[in-house]
Amino acid sequence: MKLGIVVNEGPYTHQASDSAYQFAKAAIDKGHEVFRVFFYHDGVNNGTRLTVPPQDERNIQKNWTELAAQSNVDLVVCIAAAQRRGILDENEAKRQGKDADNIAPGFRISGLGQLIEAGIEADRLVTFGD
């Protein structure tokens, strides 16, 4: 089955991102295709490479980055939600006149159309959030 996944909460405060990650991994292991993971609302905060969780804790951002590298999963951060919350890639940082970017490897910033497209293209769109 072709799956789309939506993550609506940031890392650590809520379990949503962890659950979405576990779900995506399990689905891929079972032979399903994860067409896209779309990060919206505070979910965009999963895409910063600047988090430094304690060493004996899971690193949620790294989990996603590794999943993207291993399984070629498309991780998309909503641009409008990201701009509100300070998640920028190099292009956006330049365009907005900011002195740094923080997007994590494996993530890309794009528009809400990518969410709608995931709904259209996927057999099932599964949302994680409160």
Binding site: M1, V6, N8, Y40, H41, A80, A81, R84, G111, L112, G113, L115, I116, E117, G119, I120, D123, R124, L125, T127
Partner: protein, 144 residues
């Protein structure tokens, strides 16, 4: 449910339901839900909105955000008709539980191109049971 049911024929419009469950200003979900609806309108899908739980407060009339420093985005709901988003379902029980009636809601209308552009109400108040039925008929549900 068979897996191919959701997609229908290739290229056919899917039924999208945006479920609004939260009050308009305590969190950003309502505003960012509306942003998805507006962007999604360009994709020519079959779009419905549902308002239940505290989500019914999103379309209450005479909203003012002066005291909280947030943008009052409620006028945008009135523009949904221009985006061909014309089916808004409001749960009757959610209104009743909050002491609200249909008269407390904004007048949201659309011009029906199949009926000589007659202006018609977009809001349909439905029972909880009917809302469940509406949800069961969707291909994609985005809940905010």
């Amino acid at each position: 449910m068979a897996m191919d049911e959701a997609g229908g024929a290739p290229g056919a419009a899917k039924k999208f339901l945006y479920v609004n469950r939260k009050a308009p200003y305590g969190t950003i979900y309502a505003l960012e839900s509306l942003e998805v609806v507006l962007i999604g309108a360009a994709f020519e899908q079959d779009v419905q909105l549902a308002f239940l739980d505290d989500g019914v407060y999103q379309i209450v009339k005479n909203q003012s955000t002066d005291a909280i420093g947030a943008k009052n985005f409620s006028p945008t709901y009135k523009a949904l008709g221009d985006y061909e988003v014309t089916k808004l379902y409001v749960e009757a029980e959610a209104l009743e539980e909050r002491g609200l009636t249909a008269d407390d809601l904004m007048e949201i209308t659309f011009e029906d191109e199949d009926d000589d552009w007659a202006e018609k109400p977009s809001i349909n108040i439905v029972s909880r049971a009917d809302m469940a039925k509406i949800m069961s008929e969707q291909d994609v549900i985005l809940s905010f």
